[in-house]
């Protein structure tokens, strides 16, 4: 064979150098011709003028238009200067992908070797498509898991699908508020996502079916989507049901799988005139399904979270610190920063109970423990004080009643859960001051802020809810106008921080912060304390922090010159607003005769 090969080589060379060769007649072929015909690669030879001189069997199939003795045609032809346009050519002939490369032969001749790469291309295309599918699904998974809000998640679904799967997308899901309300988000490629609510009855039939379950899925007729709530607000195309819509649009409605029931429905519309869109439509059922799976999981998780957050919110509403009431003749301020910052509830609590015609009761306390368990206890204590406060007005008696109630209601198999608290009553005085009666239940002493300095009111008392025979005491403190009484939790004084991160904030530092605060209104004092404590803590350990400030309204300093009074006319025209500002005397004398009980 090897020797034969040598012969062939020689023959071929002789053949090349010879005069133009006519196509070899069948049956009268040289060995070289047979070998060339047997090669899978198509081989074409042409002379220096670009006239085809030889074609093997393969190339006759691949390039049926090339003829021996005629000039090269198509992508292989020679340019004006007698050179080939390129040595490497990719061409498509009768639906097949060909790759040809050129080699120089002696005497200005050249050969083209032509390979059929159709299969290779197909494999590469599907590999790339698979890769982009994986990339798309990976980015979908990444984005969809990031937010637990149903609306946000739906928006992400719309944006992802509109970028890759369809030209216009809508997602519909049952509202977390229940009933037959649905929410929707819709958007078109490269446009902002819109959203809204609708009644389930207003939805197009196929969407309703998809919300019921995947069984109902049927081929989508575009007229089915006419009148969908999102189509109204959207652009005229591609949504049907508007003038200029529907013509060349292909659509699908997919049920988003959830926990047992569908988490929502996904509507996809493709502009069928776009070639890429049509191609995508053909092969992507699997991709759409995969995407729907991921979208469904994310929507279901968000719906679950929303439901639980709603439940938590309702339960929590009794545990978060209440807004302070408006009390005539008193200025109130509070600050609260729980250790569990996400839920905003903790083991510290405060409350102010105002009933017109009687003294205002206020309290601040601390149950042992932190977080949700402690917060539940604080709720119980606050409720008890509200109920008992209707019957008992005196702070000491109220503490005794609370102590008994807490001991009675503790479960037999559980240790008593005690609290420390300060409970007081406030009565505005003639002349703008306030009389406080402060009772202590083993809590930190309240601080009174006066222009001359800060003094602690030592009232002692025992823990509340620990022993039946607990003793409590009360002290009377009078606040002159502008003076304040500051109640605080141990999260303030025991805050660990400072320069080395290990010092306690301490009562001394608190008193230092409060010194000079006599010019501040109560909310400003509370905020100033919280601010200093949080700064003190830095990034360190965090306990619940609660501050409640009860203040006799600050007297207004007389003005340098009296001004025009037209604004009083304005105020009179809005009695509700005047009421809202009544805690400040209008005339600067500080007297409030109509508000003293």
């Amino acid at each position: 064979m090897v020797e034969q090969g040598h012969d062939v080589d020689t023959d071929a060379r002789v053949d090349d150098s010879a005069a133009p060769v006519e196509q070899a007649p069948m049956g009268a072929t040289t060995l070289a011709d047979r070998l060339l015909d047997g090669a899978g690669t198509g081989i074409l030879a042409h002379d220096h003028q670009g006239v085809v001189r030889f074609l093997n069997a393969s190339v006759r199939v691949l390039l049926p238009d090339q003829r021996v003795g005629e000039p090269l045609i198509g992508a292989l032809h020679l340019r004006q200067d007698g050179r080939a346009a390129s040595d490497e050519v990719e061409l498509t002939v009768t639906g097949r992908r060909l790759r040809a490369h050129r080699r120089d032969l002696p005497d200005g001749w050249a050969a083209w070797y032509v390979d059929d790469v159709t299969e290779q291309h197909a494999r590469m295309d599907s590999l790339l498509a698979e890769r982009s599918r994986s990339r798309f699904l990976a980015s979908a998974s990444r984005r969809l898991g990031l937010c637990l809000h149903p609306g946000r998640t739906a928006r992400a679904v719309v944006e992802l699908a509109a970028a890759e799967l369809a030209h216009a997308v809508a997602v519909v899901w049952p509202s977390s508020t229940g009933g037959d309300t649905v929410e929707w988000a819709a958007g078109e490629r490269a446009a902002a996502v819109r959203s809204g609510r609708a009644r389930a009855g207003e939805l197009p039939g196929p969407v309703t079916a998809a919300l019921r379950g995947p069984e109902g899925a049927a081929p989508l007729l575009l007229d089915d989507l006419a009148g969908a709530p999102w189509a109204e607000a959207g652009p005229a195309t591609p949504w049907p049901g508007r003038s200029g819509g529907s013509a060349a649009v292909a659509g699908a409605v997919v049920s988003l799988p959830g926990n047992g029931v569908p988490a929502g429905a996904l509507v996809l519309l493709r502009d069928a005139t776009a070639a890429a869109g049509a191609a995508a439509a053909a092969g992507d059922t699997a991709l759409v399904e995969e995407f729907a799976q991921r979208a469904g999981i994310a929507m279901a998780a968000a719906a679950l979270y929303a439901r639980q957050a709603r439940t938590t919110g309702v339960l929590r509403s009794n545990l978060v610190q209440p807004p302070l009431p408006h009390v005539p003749g008193l200025t109130l301020g509070a600050a609260y920063r729980p250790a569990d910052e996400g839920l905003l509830i903790g083991g510290d609590f405060y409350d102010v109970l105002h009933r017109p015609g009687s003294a205002t009761t206020f309290l601040l306390g601390d149950v042992c423990g932190k977080g949700v368990d402690a917060a539940v206890s604080t709720g119980r204590v606050r409720q008890s004080v509200v109920a008992l406060g209707r019957l008992v007005n005196d702070p000491v008696r109220l503490l005794e009643a609370l102590n008994a109630t807490m001991l009675e209601t503790v479960a037999a198999d559980r240790a008593p859960q005690f609290v420390t608290l300060v409970l007081g009553s406030a009565t505005p005085l003639l002349g703008g001051g306030v009389r406080l009666l402060l009772a202590g239940g083993g809590h930190l002493p309240p601080l009174v802020v006066r222009p001359g300095g800060v003094e602690a009111v030592d009232i002692g008392g025992m823990l509340v809810g620990a022993v039946p025979e607990a003793r409590f005491r009360a002290r009377t403190v009078d606040l002159a106008p502008g003076e304040s009484c500051v109640l605080y939790s141990d999260g303030v004084t025991e805050a660990q921080g400072g320069v080395d991160g290990r010092q306690a904030f301490g009562e001394e530092r608190l008193a230092e912060v409060l010194a000079g605060c006599d010019v501040l209104p109560a909310p400003g004092i509370a905020e100033r304390v919280a601010q200093q404590v949080v700064r003190w803590l830095g990034t360190g350990y965090n306990d619940d922090v609660a501050v409640l400030v009860v203040q006799a309204p600050i007297p207004v300093h007389p003005r340098a010159e009296r001004h025009l009074h037209s604004v009083h006319v304005a105020a009179a025209a809005h009695p509700e607003d005047r009421a809202a500002r009544r805690d400040r005397p209008h005339d600067g004398t500080g007297s409030h005769p109509e508000e003293v009980p």
Binding site: H149, L344, E512, R535
Partner: protein, 346 residues
């Protein structure tokens, strides 16, 4: 102000005319008069936005100046600010928009207690029909992010008066953006030209309330490219300075101990002011911006002089810092520039 004719709404100039009267009311703690002045305009047909941006906001700048010059104590300044907050609240009950345009959640960065500017921006957006939730001063990041998960607002707006809270806020910004919520930044803390905002990777920055409103009108915003100039060295050096915060403050306190009995810079306890100096140094290191620290030093020199601080107090603090930071090349150049700035002040 004196005439209440509904046909002639009070123009902005009329609002400006009572600036002195209003500032005087704040200084005297006369909430009633301050509120009456503000509401008087709205009742006379003026716009609440003009009152917020033409009276409350500019006067607040003057309140700050009075404190800086030592004319007012810090408590007086706080009292004035409290009253201004009540004025803003009163305006809010009188005039508000429909809340139909989208939901903006507004929050001060953790550690940022200047809430009034954010409150004003919130009310301006409300008047322009945005639904606004204001989470308040110094909002813990956990609280902000759980709010985003529960309520899914359209935008998060973050407010910062001081740049020292920004490096720590980068995680908050990233967490908000991961929920798909774009982040708008505002307040002088982000730099007069917003350069710190870009560094933080927020989606948009607005220097004023009007700009914020205009930006919100143009949603969605074009995607921002992450800042490519970040270098890991700055991150490491920042972390190192933060870690040495306590040691630096103690070194400075030690250095000052044998000089004067009671040293005060601004109105806070000394170690608070020294700690804030370290915070500025750390932020300057993180942003790679020496001017940030030098500017703070100049400010501190300006406010501490009327409070009786000796002129060579701050250079002594810089020396104490320098001795502790010999491994921190960029922080050292910040200290040098700060020293030059103090010397240049004379």
């Amino acid at each position: 102000m004196t005439s209440r004719s509904p046909s002639a709404p009070a123009p902005v100039e009329a609002v400006r005319a009572v600036v002195d009267d209003y500032l005087d009311a704040l200084g005297r703690g006369d909430e009633t008069h301050a509120v009456d002045l503000a509401l008087g305009f709205v009742d006379a047909g003026g716009s609440a936005e003009d009152v917020l941006l033409g009276l409350v906001a500019p006067v607040q700048v003057r309140v700050g100046e009075r404190w800086e010059s030592g004319e007012w104590s810090v408590a007086q300044e706080h009292a004035a600010t409290c009253i201004a907050e009540r004025v803003v609240a009163a305006l809010g009950t009188r005039a508000r928009g429909q809340g139909t345009r989208g939901h903006v959640v507004l929050s001060c960065l953790d550690g940022e207690w200047h809430a009034l500017p954010a409150r004003i921006v919130g009310d301006v957006l409300r008047l322009r029909c945005w639904q606004v939730t204001f989470l308040g001063a110094s909002v813990p990041p956990v609280h902000l992010v759980s709010f985003l998960h529960q309520h899914g607002p359209d935008v998060v707006a973050l407010s910062a008066a001081l740049p020292i809270h920004l490096p720590a806020a980068r995680h908050t910004v990233a967490a908000a953006q991961r929920t798909g919520t774009p982040v708008l930044a505002g307040g002088p803390g982000f730099g007069a030209d917003g350069r710190f905002a870009r560094r933080l990777g927020v989606d948009a920055w607005a220097p004023t309330a009007e700009d914020a409103a205009a930006l919100l009108d143009r949603m969605p915003w074009p995607a921002t490219s992450p800042d490519a100039t970040r270098d890991d060295g700055a991150e490491t050096e920042y972390a190192g300075v933060r870690e040495r915060r306590g040691r630096l403050v103690m070194a400075a306190v030690e250095r000052l101990r044998d000089r004067t009995a009671a040293v005060r810079l601004a109105d806070s306890p000394l170690d608070d002011d020294l700690g804030q100096m370290v915070d500025f140094l750390a932020a300057a290191t993180w942003f790679g911006d020496r001017g940030l620290f030098a500017d703070h030093l100049e400010w501190l020199a300006r406010v501490s002089t009327p409070r009786g601080a000796a002129a060579d107090l701050l250079p002594a603090v810089l020396d104490a810092f320098r001795a502790e930071l010999h491994d921190f090349p960029f922080a050292l150049t910040c200290l040098d520039l700060g020293h030059d700035a103090l010397v240049g002040r004379g």
